[in-house]
């Protein structure tokens, strides 16, 4: 068996489905799809006039919400796996790509009409996040 000497033993990265970079992609994809499913599910059973619906509990009536919960758990597990191999200050900034995917998904899959003003706001948030994501990941490591 050959050992790649450029990698430290703690960072030995499994290949195939266990590849941490692939798992990072899986985690992001699960978050992305779960957000869209949650929105679809919540809209299906929405009761905006009832005060109780602020608790969101009525959302459990939608099967899409349950699928979203499954994906959230899956994303959480693959994220924990990713963190065993990739440092938070690298993995976290990359995972924020979901901030771009979600508004695009809203537009493409949910047919949400996003005004120019909202696009500008989203863009500012994304740029701001891109700027702070590394220092914040480091802070979170210490917190």
């Amino acid at each position: 068996m050959t050992i790649n000497v450029t990698e430290r033993p703690t960072q030995q990265r499994p290949i195939g489905f266990g590849n941490p970079w692939l798992q990072l992609g899986v985690s992001v994809a699960c978050v992305f799809v779960s957000e869209l499913l949650l929105k679809r599910g919540a809209s299906e059973v929405a009761e905006p006039n009832s005060a109780f619906s602020w608790t969101g509990i009525n959302g459990l009536a939608s099967p899409l919400v349950w699928w979203a919960i499954v994906l959230i758990i899956a994303s959480f597990i693959s994220w924990l796996y990713v963190l065993r191999y990739i440092p938070l200050s690298i993995a976290y900034p990359l995972s924020r790509v979901v901030d771009i995917l979600v508004p695009l998904g809203c537009w493409v899959f949910l047919d949400e009409r996003i005004s120019a003003l909202r696009w500008c706001g989203i863009a500012l948030v994304v740029i701001g996040l891109a700027l702070v994501v590394k220092p914040v990941a480091k802070m979170e490591e210490r917190l």
Partner: protein, 114 residues
Amino acid sequence: MSFLAFFFIVVSLVTFVAAQLILKRAMEFSATAGMRNAYFVSRVAIGVALMTVSFFLTLGLLQRFDLSYLYPFQGLSVIFITILAAVVLKEKLGVRLAIGAILITAGIVLVSMS
């Protein structure tokens, strides 16, 4: 947006950030002290409970607003972490962090007006 909606958005974000930090602390603690102790179990329980609160509040909000409207507010979580780091770690705000925080805030103001 109503005051109530803004209140729930902030509560759902604060509970989420708090849960993340509590769970992280619990996991770090378990690395040395193991998982079979009251401290670890209670922290995980608190973390999971806070995450659940955040999840259901989000589900309530999604019944009322577009996802493209609500999602950018998650940028606020970064501001909470920055404030927390300043308070707990006495960390100073770098220029990059300050500019980023201003951009995120401006972006959220634009989204909330849309």
